[in-house]
């Protein structure tokens, strides 16, 4: 039995002990904003927040989430309103194909939660575990910078 909090909601679920966290989130919880790009923790598309820290859910077991608080991209918008980061990604053209976007936003959110006014180099470092093949990262960095400078 796995007990954890996912996007603010208490979850209790019977799961196989060898189930990966990404499969639990996608297949059991239907949180398909968690994307699988490489299955070995290199691309970051499966990034979720684990007690506020960005982790690759493809290389974690679901049972490791026991007692933890997990946030996926589905938990970022509040009451149907996009978060500042989500809106900034749209405004800056930081989304092209969109496959890396959920992980990218969560990695950026984790950074801003701990360091609200990062330098550009700190932003680039914080998202360096999240690969994007479309944008060349410029618009993503611009979007994160814009949010950090607003507060």
């Amino acid at each position: 039995m796995l007990s954890c909090k996912i996007n603010g909601e208490e979850i209790h679920s019977e799961i196989p002990s060898d189930m990966r966290l990404i499969d639990f989130l996608r297949e059991e919880m239907n949180l398909t904003g968690v994307k699988e790009g490489c299955s070995e923790g290199e691309c970051g598309a499966c990034t979720v927040l684990f007690n506020g820290d960005p982790v690759n859910s493809c290389i974690m077991l679901a049972i490791q989430a026991e007692g933890a608080e997990i946030t996926t991209i589905e938990g970022i918008a509040k009451d149907g309103k996009l978060s500042d980061l989500q809106q900034a990604f749209i405004d800056h053209g930081a989304v092209q194909c969109g496959f890396c976007t959920p992980g990218m936003i969560l990695a950026a959110q984790a950074l801003l939660d701990k360091n609200p006014h990062p330098a550009e180099a700190e932003i680039r470092h914080a998202i360096s575990g999240n690969l994007c093949r479309c944008t060349g990262y410029q618009a993503i960095v611009d979007a994160i910078l814009a949010v950090s400078q607003r507060k």
Binding site: S39, E40, E42, Q96, I127, L131, C132, Q138
Partner: protein
């Protein structure tokens, strides 16, 4: 679903043994297909290999179960018996007289020869002749979303979501392989997680369709990243010898090239790639005497195919490198030497093709010359910092003689909104945004009143592929024509039009080229060479792009920045290196994509010339940015260390260890 793939790069299949599969695990082979061929311009690739495998990772059989895990684990219990064959590793080896043959017809798939002016004589008149051998590696598209499809049956109709660049091609491929009528195959594009050319053909569509059709049950396939690396299309590796002759004043007088393009085990779009390679090889310049000999050759590797830039980056690396070295030797500013030879409207390109449309190369070069990044070149005295520039162009559209049209329908809804039907896929580059904006502007309604329906074989008309930097141009024009049709009889509530891409008036008697129109770029880079690692640290890139009028500035800049980043990867380390027929790099751990820390700030400035034939003055823009950043980077390194970089990706240790002046890396 899971795919049984070849573990041999070149072998006869002498037996397939499925005896270890329980009865609830299903398997499918070539025998289950009505016609075992992937529909394409050259039809040499089976959907599933049956008598012979020609590359490591080639699909042989499909295993289906009620879970992905089960399918994968039982696919490993399928035994394939092989009779190994000697491997063809490089194009040059492939053309040796006693080389092993991939196909009975021989390993040479296609060749292209073009001569203009008098190359032999003109080289004799040159003040400076440079010639070198260049090598460009195999690059993977590395779209973030692995190839996927989901198919199901409803009565006689097979419906399928695909991750694709062309739903109508998918429909034809599936109908033919399964032997069912076209109208019984309904293809819709899912939200595509990147394509870059790699999803402009068969990836997994027929596999999912086959299982759904044979079982009547829904079938889902998503391949692993390793399968993407070993089993899907690639950018062509090229070996070329390039010779260029210059006059003292910097005039490009003559160019000759012999190139071997490695198309891997199957043709894919290889012949068209060789065409664009040859067409773009000389760069966006006037060169009166040109001889180009190109050979497209089979080897035992994953098929090379379309990839953003489509053959242009390989040739441009060689040409731009020699131009930069010539400028240095002749002591002419690298921007001035390009200005002097730049194509202008009405001029003839290296194949003799007339520039029939706006040409903004000189304007782009001027913008770079005036940029802060380039001006710093004259003031920065740090010996570990270098600056480099290159210029290039890329055609828009599919080329002369290739069907290149779009059909669009517009319907006014009862509430006054408009539905716009476009049979193209948005693969992430934002053509949906641009097309909706064009429709809104033309219909004089706000964007939220435009409802685009795209890429659905039932609800839209065939508009061809999202490829060739054509989608906004061709569908934009079709939308404008459909809006004119609507306004000519608004009472009907419907507008419809079909438009054609402009064709070049130059005739070269080869299908697919030349092209009528090109997009132009000039790109400059500033970098620091790390004295310890030999690795360049990119400090900034400034790009100037002429793609006609810009429809959406954010999308435009995003295309340029993304294209540059893709070719930074090509320069710094991406390489599908094959050893004994097996790729070294089958994972992101070893096939290194650039991260946000590897890519410097990239600024793009658009030179907005009005292209009269384009929608609101636009040309295509999706691919051009990939073409020349590599030679700009290597030129910056060559300005710091006196050496010649003639191959990609960079070998940092070799750069660091090069002791002698003029060493070739």
């Amino acid at each position: 679903m899971a795919i049984v793939r070849s573990t041999e790069p070149h072998a006869f299949i002498t037996g397939l043994d499925f005896s270890e599969l329980p009865s609830d695990i299903l398997y499918f082979t070539a025998k289950d297909l009505e016609e075992n061929i992937i529909e394409d311009a050259i039809e040499d690739q089976p959907v599933l290999a049956y008598d012979k495998v020609r590359f490591y990772g080639e699909p042989i059989a499909i295993v289906a179960a009620d879970s992905h895990q089960k399918a994968v684990s039982f696919s490993q219990k399928v035994k394939v018996k092989y009779q190994k064959l000697p491997i063809v590793e490089t194009p040059k080896q492939a053309l040796e007289p006693d080389a092993p043959l991939l196909f009975e017809k021989g390993n040479l798939l296609s060749e292209f020869h073009h001569e203009k002016g008098n190359v032999t004589e003109s080289f004799e008149d040159c003040d400076l002749i440079l010639e070198e051998d260049f090598h460009l590696p195999i690059q993977d598209h590395a779209y973030m979303e692995p190839d996927a499809a989901f198919a199901w049956m409803e009565g006689d109709v097979l419906s399928i979501y695909t991750s694709t660049q062309n739903v109508f091609h998918d429909q034809r491929m599936i109908a033919r392989a399964l032997g069912i009528p076209l109208h019984n195959v309904h293809v819709m594009a899912a939200t595509v997680g990147g394509g870059f050319g790699g999803k402009d053909g068969h990836t997994v569509q027929i596999f999912a369709a086959l299982v759904a059709y044979r079982t009547g049950r829904p079938a889902k396939i998503v391949i692993s990243r390793r399968e993407v690396f070993i089993g899907t299309y690639k950018r062509h590796a090229v070996d070329l010898h390039l010779k260029m002759g210059f006059q003292k004043d910097g005039t490009f007088r003559a160019l000759s090239s012999t190139a071997y393009l490695d198309t891997g085990a199957y043709a894919g779009l290889g012949p068209a790639v060789m065409g664009l390679f040859s067409e773009h090889l000389g760069g966006p310049y006037v060169i009166s005497n040109v001889k180009i000999d190109s050979y497209l050759v089979y080897t035992d590797k994953a098929p090379a195919h379309a990839m953003r830039g489509f053959g242009a980056p390989q040739g441009a690396f060689a040409t731009e490198s020699l131009i930069n070295r010539a400028a240095n030797i002749l002591q002419i500013d690298p921007i001035e030497i390009r200005m002097k030879n730049a194509l202008t409207q009405g001029a003839l390109g290296t194949l003799g093709q007339k520039m029939e449309h706006v040409v903004g190369l000189r304007e782009a070069l001027e913008v770079v010359r005036d940029s802060d990044l380039w001006k710093e070149k004259n003031t920065n005295q740090d010996p570990s910092i270098g600056f480099g520039i290159a210029a290039g162009y890329l055609s828009c559209g599919l080329g002369k003689g290739v069907p290149d049209s779009a059909k669009v329908e517009i319907d006014r809804e009862p509430n006054g909104d408009f539905t716009v039907r476009v049979g193209l896929v948005d693969i992430g580059q934002g053509n949906a945004t641009a097309l909706a904006a064009i429709a809104g502007e033309a219909l004089k309604v706000p964007l939220e009143k435009i409802h685009l329906i795209m890429a659905d074989t039932t609800q839209t008309f065939d508009c061809g592929s999202t490829a060739g930097s054509r989608s906004v141009f061709i569908a934009g024009n079709a939308i404008l024509a459909a809006v004119r049709d609507y306004f000519s009889h608004p009472e009907t509530g419907r507008g419809f039009a079909e438009t054609e891409f402009p064709q070049s008036k130059t005739d070269l008697n080869v299908i697919g080229f030349p092209h009528a129109m090109y997009t132009f770029i000039a790109q400059a880079v500033k970098l620091k060479l790390d004295p310890i690692s030999g690795q360049p640290q990119l400090a900034g890139i400034f790009a100037a792009t002429e793609a006609g009028k810009v429809i959406n500035r954010l999308s435009m800049d995003g295309q340029i920045q993304g294209g540059i980043a893709m070719s930074i990867g090509y320069t710094l380390g991406e390489n599908m290196n094959y050893r004994n027929g097996i790729p070294d790099n089958q994972r992101f751990t070893v096939y290194i994509l650039p991260t946000a820390e590897d890519i410097p700030p990239i600024q793009n400035v658009s030179v907005e010339l009005y292209e009269a034939t384009g929608p609101y003055g636009a040309k295509g823009a999706a691919e051009v940015a990939t073409v020349v950043i590599a030679p700009a980077i290597t030129s910056a390194i060559e300005s710091i260390r006196d050496l010649k970089i003639n191959r990609l990706p960079l070998d940092f240790e070799q750069i660091l260890d090069a002791k002698e002046k003029g060493s070739v890396c």
